[in-house]
Symmetry: C3
Subunit: 638 residues, 3 copies
């Protein structure tokens, strides 16, 4: 499949007279894709049941006539005022009980049935009209599920839905669930929390002290499921009328819903990549790191999501929105270092992207994102990113094809585990995402390409190393599959620490088949109290006391084991190591890997036929004898 470029465009924002010129400039730039429509509900359906398709017909025609393929977005992320007036209780409610009302976007509760019906209606109307339009080459459902913390809602609709969902989780006789089963599963006896009826169950907010973690975790699962269902309904409607592939544009570090499950209902995964905004807002790096990469972004954050969404899309994935310059929403919004837009684009292709679409064509001079750069300035003059996109376009001639290949290393990523850590971090600031990302960075610093796998992966053929850190609930089938895999396996900490109902299982974790390795005690520690590890590096913030098991692979300076064999090819790590610890473990345990410690800020990625290097630092670097300028990209045919 070809590597392509595209752009996000809002015809409704501009005079119709300008559309043709815009389309021609897009085509001249070499763009393939133009995404439109995803915020235009009010323009499509100004009043309930009154549709106005004329402008959209004409916009699609103009764009198509210029040779562009349209990605058409359903506009459910921005319900117009009339929808909200009709359903005054459709809003999400925050943890403090405040209604998250009208006036921006994503102002709906995923559990609200009335809003779901309105969404179905507009999606069906769009699909009916454009399902067979030759210019509509792909669809996008909604926009950035979960953005602005919109997965969790403490509304009445969510509460009612949660009760019904629990009834189904704990089925009883007749129509009702088995409340005793729920009480037993959650350990509600603990503080006299037993319910007599599912209708007594509330949402786990505004409690005096922490709610039962089983309760909270169930609510997290329910909330994720609501997103899956909301998306599925849209995809099913579109498929009735269209054969074009369907995508959703995910965000970075949104973990409140299971992207794998949403992805199961879609054809393509895509995501919106804002490296500078994310570094300020979501990576969680320290000030020194934020300074060093302020104009480049974190060297691993984009790559991680590329690999994650490649898995979510079962191989097919795009960048739906690529940051083209300063944005409007981060605490600080610097300009990218010259060359970074090109680097980010090529990095996506190196990780297997089929398309990179820049957000947005022209900077809007009005409303919330007026400070968000585009390929064009508000006065239609080319902005910096325009030139870099043109450069990428030119370079694609030499490397036009997506040619993915299995990586030597796999990391299992489990959204359920992220919820579990979030429900019960045990130590301030501990997060599953953070742990997995630390392991991912260690691999990348060793020059390794990585595949991310869903938690239901059972086939690990072809991998030299499988990493499964922090999976608090670890089904027996996964343990067996890993035990039977040819790969070296590294897992833990907190592996299998909870059963499916968020209880500590007996025998104690990790309960590996054939091993008596036992986590006898766990502790979390102040970040400023790292525990040094023999051979260098340290474990910090989280540390387990391990008993039993096989060979001790690594210990603290005091001799306490922190990495222990459960099987000849399976190692449990009972703590949160730093890069030095993680890298040494990988090097020691998997000597077969072709490891190459990268210079500061440089990363490497292989496709089937190419080796890429990316210089995220703001200084020149040497890699394999070649000089790389800041923001440099090197490509070598293998």
């Amino acid at each position: 499949m070809n590597r392509t470029l595209g752009v996000c465009y809002y015809p409704e924002h501009w005079p119709e007279a300008q559309w043709a010129e815009d389309a021609q400039r897009m085509a001249d730039l070499g763009l393939t894709w133009v995404r439109i429509g995803e915020f235009a509900w009010k323009r499509m359906e100004p009043r309930e049941g009154e549709y106005d398709w004329g402008w959209l017909d004409r916009a699609i025609d103009v764009l198509g006539a210029a040779g562009l393929k349209v990605v058409l977005g359903t506009p459910t992320a921005t319900p117009p005022k009339w929808v909200c007036k009709k359903h005054p209780d459709m809003f999400a409610v925050d943890e403090n009980g405040h209604v998250r009302g009208y006036g921006s976007r994503r102002h709906y509760c995923f559990s609200h049935q009335g809003f779901l019906e309105e969404s179905c209606k507009i999606v069906r109307a769009m699909a009916e009209r454009y399902g067979r339009d030759p210019h509509v080459a792909a669809w996008q459902t909604d926009n950035e599920y979960g953005c602005h913390d919109t997965v969790l809602s403490y509304s009445d609709a969510a509460r009612d839905g949660f009760r019904d969902w629990l009834r189904a989780q704990f089925p009883g006789e007749g129509n009702d669930g088995d409340i005793d089963a729920l009480n037993a599963a959650w350990g509600n006896v603990f503080w006299s929390m037993d319910y007599d009826d599912f209708d007594e169950i509330g949402l786990p907010n505004l409690t005096v002290t922490e709610a039962n973690p089983a309760h909270v975790h169930a609510f997290r699962r329910f909330s994720s499921e609501q997103v899956v269902l909301f998306n599925r309904v849209q995809a099913e409607i579109i498929r009735q009328f269209s054969d074009a592939p369907i995508a959703h544009n995910y965000m970075g570090r949104v973990t409140e819903f299971d992207h794998f499950k949403v992805g199961d209902d879609l054809d393509i995964a895509s995501w919106d990549s804002y490296p500078l905004g994310f570094l300020e807002d979501r990576v969680g790096a320290d000030a020194a790191h934020q300074r060093a990469y302020a104009r480049q972004g974190d060297p691993d954050f984009q790559a991680f999501h590329h690999d994650l969404y490649r898995a979510v899309g079962k191989g097919r994935w795009w960048i739906m929105e690529q940051q083209p310059g300063p944005v409007n929403w981060a605490p600080y919004n610097p300009s990218p270092l010259p060359g970074m837009v090109r680097l980010w684009s090529w990095e996506a292709f190196a990780h297997g992207a089929e398309a990179v679409c820049y957000f947005r064509w022209r900077q809007a001079p009005f409303a919330q994102e007026q400070m968000h750069a585009g390929l064009l300035r508000p006065d239609s003059v080319e902005a910096e990113a325009f030139g870099e996109a043109a450069e990428v376009m030119a370079e694609l001639a030499e490397a036009p094809e997506v040619s993915p290949v299995q990586a030597p290393v796999a990391i299992v990523f489990d959204y359920d585990a992220d919820w579990a850590w979030s429900v019960q971090p045990h130590g301030a600031g501990l997060s599953y995402f953070g742990l997995v990302f630390d392991w991912y960075r260690a691999c990348r610093k060793l020059g390794l390409s990585v595949d991310i796998l869903p938690p239901d992966a059972r086939d690990f053929a072809g991998y030299a190393l499988v990493l499964a850190p922090g999976m608090m609930h670890m089904p027996d089938e996964l343990k067996s599959a890993l035990q039977n895999a040819d790969a070296e396996v590294i897992f833990g900490p907190r592996a299998a620490a909870r059963d499916v109902d968020f209880n500590i299982p007996t025998p104690l974790p990790p309960a590996w088949p054939g091993s008596d390795l036992t986590v006898a005690r766990v502790q979390s520690m102040r970040p400023d109290l790292p525990v040094p590890v023999q051979g260098g590096g340290a474990v910090s913030r989280y540390l387990e006391q391990l008993e039993g098991g096989g060979d001790v692979v690594m210990t603290t300076d005091d001799g306490a084991p922190i990495a222990v064999r459960c099987a000849p090819h399976v190692t449990y790590v009972g703590g949160w190591g730093d890069d030095a610890v993680h890298m040494r473990l990988i090097e020691t345990l998997v000597p077969a890997l072709e490891v190459d410690r990268m210079p500061e800020g440089v990363r490497r990625r292989d496709t089937a036929t190419e080796r890429f290097w990316f210089n995220y630092s703001d200084r020149p670097m040497q890699v394999g004898g070649r000089d790389m300028p800041p923001a440099g990209v090197s490509r070598q045919t293998l």
Copy 2:
């Protein structure tokens, strides 16, 4: 006009038997003014329509008999319980939707019509009774508008008022406004935010992500207007019955309403100067600065407000409340360095004050401000400030007259710009007030006296330098007036960055008449990533990319222009410089100014006939060959 002293007094707090002695001691101290009445609504009107004037008659008589002139305050900042019971929805509502209820002060929403009527009634009753009283020599409306963040209210009353205000802003046919015009002006198409009716418009709080900045900015303008109207009604009523001048006592760094517009309805501007409390709470200085000036206050904060309120009062201004010792409300409440009460008083006179009134006569042993020092201790013994006030009184014999003069430098201060920056700071912590204050400080460190001008100033005759930093909306008339001025003009960054509806104009800013200078891109940056400037100093936090224009006046070390000529006498600055950058720009661009770099903590100020130096540092300093002790004041006749 004579320089006078005064004091704030609360006869209702003390036994009537004590009034005469208090009045005599005030008179013996040499005080001219005594402000009373502004919190005594419950004493004046204990129950609706039942007035009790006897005590106030006697208090005014006693004070007047001692030779004091009374400033009589309207008591609308403290509505009694019966008012609140009658109007249970009169309270302001905070951004989270919580009612800001009864139990302290300022518990009213400026938009509540019922409360407005109650206010009119008590003001009219007071004005009728005391309008011709020979002892009532001035009036004060309400107390400290905006204190405790009381300008913005998210109440139903505010929402209804906002809708009507918008109808007037976007007039349509008949009684209703033109909703399409509003939608177009705000760019509501952006996220399907178009309204069909003004009654659909809500307040911009509790949205899922940020509300439309045009929406927020309009609400800020509306909210300011409500204060103006509230005050105007009081002033108009008083004027029906009295010829005495009317003042309001403003606060420090309250920017939520347009003081110039409130001032247009009054005769005198006054403000409440709490240098130590402000340094802890509002200046925004770093810890080192807060330590260095903990017992003196920021060396420029008071002066800035003196100059600002001199402009607000069109030349006539007072200190209505002068901090006399430790206060009760700041995070830390240290004692002023000995001599500072004298210094603060003289500094006010040097900036043209007609009166300095100390707050308060005697420390109250009860209620919220029991830890607030007065001229007397609670046991009526003289506190420290009493002696310093006496010293000032003695010194006034030598310099009895207010003799203002135009300063060589003018700075335009635009409340609307402060709202605009606040609505869209673009970088964490960026504020218009902060930017203007930085420029003000640079002038003062050069020994320059400064006038502050309102944004509708068009006559700049007599100024050598006009500074207009950060005016996000800059009317064409102002641009023309500055272009035609004889003064050197320095403006930017973000100048003219928005049109009147908060949209980015085309051609791009600053769109200076006759210049093609263009802000091509803007970025905000982490505060720990300053960009060095050629010749010393740095730009930090906010930086624009400038294209076109005339001579480059200053560049970064990398050669990027940061100050560029738009005209031979007009310079645009595209970043946020430090003191070194600002001072060098002034020195370089306006060699005609009589500049003198002040020693640390020393400031200079000229009147028509005098030159003053003030030593805000806690160490002795040398100025012009003279020694100044800590807290020292030097006066030299010109």
Copy 3:
């Protein structure tokens, strides 16, 4: 009385088949006590009026049969769902007006009369059934009053109760109170806050700026009283049916209610000691201290509470819950240093504890506290603490007796003063508890044993030194008693700074009998601006200006007096000193004390017949020629 050990157990959490084995293991370990029942309301009364005692009967029988004595807890801290459905307004309301609802524990408002009645019913039912049970050897009321900030509630029930309480405080004619008296006492004239009726008085939350401190302080007193009444009713019911002693398990640094007054209705004081959780969460130490003692706990925090609750229990006190390993609720939850469980146990005995009960027998694998260690792991294997408890048990053979003795030093602790400081800290972070704790630590660093006394103590015979820091309200009777005491007395700052209605008295504080010492002015200061004291050390954060009085005992480097004699044996301290200042004052003023400066982290405590040393540091220390390992305990017979 014998020194005993015990454990907390939840038979309802485990299969009945396991009870007997558990009981036998407890008995084999040597435990005396087993506390049960305090969260099992739903098991005891599954539906209103339907009691199920069978399981509890059997549990008590099984435990009793093993030789254990049962402490039976009333379960009112965990009302079941049916209670909450019956009384939907029984929940506390937080300061923001949010209901603190069902789903964890302590979800009730102390002022709710309906819930109080439900509590009485279940307590009466339990007392009737088990009051004469030979195995029930003690009672516990509720659980951890005030935990999770549950004393202050802004509910309608609290508001109504507060109004009635105020009527009783300001009694008038007939059934109503004297509202004028209240207005006068509170100084409501200040901001027109006078009320016409008690029913106009609201709770002091959600005001625009701070409420009247007299109002807030009265609400604090009322809130404390509600806890006292709630507990008293339970104790009175139990006493009707049982002769066993009644205890409550208090927490660490919960100061929102007066423990002395609750204690007056009980036979034994007990507390729940979580040294590591408290260090992270409540001690308020800096990062260096938190690092140094992360695995040991603060060296003085436990001892302080031991001494405090010994006073609350009038000599009889227990540890009802002793931390046995990592807990679940602190920001970080490290493992105790090996030996610390033993140290903590012995330290309690050294301070006079009759019993130390470990919390809990077995780690629960479910619900909120699943990460809270026990003596057993969830798989019933012995956890670390089991061995240390066994070690203590063995050592008790040598020192079986509680043998208290009066300490040479007494510190008065006054909950009312803590409320007063909290209502009006005057400087950010200032707290009465913190001040008293600083003085306590100074004593302990000098090797001194300390008794804590209630504020109504009047007999100081036998003490060499009485410390009474920070008592903002200081009754004349206390002043007289201290003036007439044989002990050296050190008091202040802020002593007698307020009268009973929270007004500043005249003559000004401290108004010591026979002394003209006057606090002329007070200031609070940034923590980074300490004021050096002659002879070393510094005063910081709070400093008074003292006038008059007798000999100056200590001055700042600038010569300002900070410690001044009010009488030959009475010294007023007008500031917040550091350890150096406090220790030097004690050493200088009371040479008769047997002072011994302890090595870092080592503390000393005497009983009537023994001298103990405890090494809280993580390094070996030398004390009196003996080596103490980390976590070491030394006992020497006197």
